[in-house]
């Protein structure tokens, strides 16, 4: 078999395997259960992260966790797992209206990590934590 034909056959095979995984219902619909769960996940992002406060998105798809030093970790659902970032200087937070709800939108500064939207109580408080200079800003 020529190299090109082998490549096409291999490509077809991997697409079929991924399709089979999808059809078999593999993976799971994970959610962040509550604040304690979010705090545990923050400790997995930053080993020893002493969580003080946490806010979990209504749908459990994201969470924010803060420690006593004012550091904030963002957690999001990623496939069947979780992924997180310690929010730094390049991160911004803003509040916007979405279907009648006031939601918080976090931009980690990493295009491929993506913007994360959270439906949480008192989103303005978190805006002040994440970008004090832009506190109260409504996008």
């Amino acid at each position: 078999m020529g190299a090109a034909a082998q490549f096409v056959a291999s490509l077809a095979a991997i697409l079929v395997l991924a399709w089979i995984a999808h059809r078999m219902g593999l993976g799971r619909d994970v959610r962040i259960r509550d604040a304690d769960h979010a705090k545990g996940l923050a400790d997995e992002v930053i080993c020893g992260f002493a969580a003080d406060d946490a806010a979990v998105d209504d749908a459990g798809r994201a969470a924010l966790v803060r420690d006593r030093n004012g550091r904030t970790v963002l957690i999001k659902v990623h496939g069947a797992q979780f992924s997180g970032r310690l929010l730094g200087a390049g991160s911004t937070a803003s509040v916007r209206e979405d279907h009648g709800r006031t939601v918080l939108e976090i931009d980690t500064g990493e295009r491929l990590f993506g913007r994360v939207t959270l439906d949480i109580d008192r989103p303005d408080n978190w805006v002040q934590c994440i970008n004090p200079a832009k506190a109260g800003h409504h996008a």
Binding site: A3, F7, S10, L11, A13, I14, L15, L17, A18, W19, I20, A21, H22, M24, G25, L26, G27, R28, V30, E44, C47, G48, K76, H78, G79, A80, Q81, S83, G84, R85, E110, L112, F113, G114
Partner: protein, 320 residues
């Protein structure tokens, strides 16, 4: 000299085993697979094969050129020296250990090897998540010593392929522990789960390819413990299934760090461990493990302080 690539023959078995593991996952652990992750891993494997085809000729040509400077000569019929084959396999596995340890401890090599670790899942498709940039990272240099010793490059490629094939089946959660004698000598799913873990206890452990004895000999062995739920992936999870970012993210990170660093700190970003920064703004695996141990010590100190107050019997004397 057999004129075939063992990996070409192994690929159909890989596919069948992935399917069998998917059936197992559906019944027992659906969360061990994620279709988008599987697609990314398999695309890594395909891209890696293409990269191998493109660069393999150059590596073979270099090896054949270096072969003329060999120390020992097995003769023109080197393939008929039966004992050279197992010897070459064992020495190649030792070379793999050295390569693998460097691939985790030197950021230049890690930029290529990180591809294999970037999945947060651990299944047979993860085994196929191979690097596209191994040639660029100069990973082939770790096999040069065997050529200079006197093993023919074709023999080294052949045993190396079998080493890679061996490592396929250990990427699974479907197998718990193998018999004790096997776990003592060979790399196993249990040992390699530890290697893919991001738990501080497990970071940078179990570099073995086929024989776990190298880790036991060189002090990098860590047994899997029941008390530690394994988290797979990398310390800073990618958070995306984007294939190209998954392939090149660490190279981009190196370029950004070198660009931004003061002149005298630029080169260390290439040869220092992953996570090292000149301003201490990030952490290496050693630093993470040390902080984790400190937390453990602090927690046990707190326990010691509270026990005498809570327990009048323990309060009579210091805890052991």
């Amino acid at each position: 000299m057999p004129d075939f690539s063992p990996i070409d023959f192994a690929v159909p078995f890989f596919v069948v085993l992935v399917l069998i593991e998917m059936i197992w996952a559906r019944r027992r652990r659906p969360e061990s697979y994620e279709p988008r992750d599987t697609l990314t891993s398999l695309a890594f494997g395909l891209g890696s094969s293409v990269a191998g085809l493109v660069t393999g000729g150059a590596v073979l040509a270099l090896s054949l050129w270096l072969y003329q400077f060999r120390i020992f000569d097995f003769g023109d019929e080197w393939w008929s020296v039966w004992w050279a084959w197992p010897l070459c396999f064992v020495l190649d596995d030792l070379g793999y250990y050295v390569f693998h340890r460097c691939a985790h401890r030197v950021r230049w090599f890690w930029a290529s090897h990180v591809n294999h670790h970037s999945s947060q899942h651990y299944n047979l498709s993860t085994a196929l998540r191979q690097s596209w940039t191994g040639f660029f990272a100069l990973s082939f240099i770790f096999r040069i010593p065997l050529t200079l010793v006197g093993f023919h490059p074709a023999m080294i490629l052949f045993v190396g392929a079998f080493n890679l094939i061996y490592q396929f089946w250990i990427h699974t959660e479907a197998i718990g522990r193998m018999p004790r004698w096997f776990e003592a000598v060979m790399n196993t799913p249990s040992h390699h789960r530890v290697h893919h873990a991001t738990n501080p206890l497990y970071l940078d452990r179990n570099y073995a390819g086929t024989f776990i004895v190298w880790d036991r000999l060189f002090g990098t062995f860590q047994a899997e413990t029941e008390s530690e739920r394994i988290r797979y992936g990398i310390v800073r999870q990618l958070g995306t299934f984007n294939l190209l970012w998954s392939v090149f993210h660490e190279w981009v990170g190196i370029a950004q760090d070198v660009w931004r660093a003061p002149w005298r700190h630029k080169l260390p970003y290439l040869w220092r461990p992953p996570g090292w920064t000149h301003d201490g703004s990030r952490e290496t695996s050693d630093m993470i493990r040390e902080r984790w141990l400190e937390h453990g010590r602090a927690a046990s100190d707190d326990m010691e302080k509270t026990v005498p107050n809570d327990n009048p019997i323990a309060g009579q004397e210091k805890p052991a």
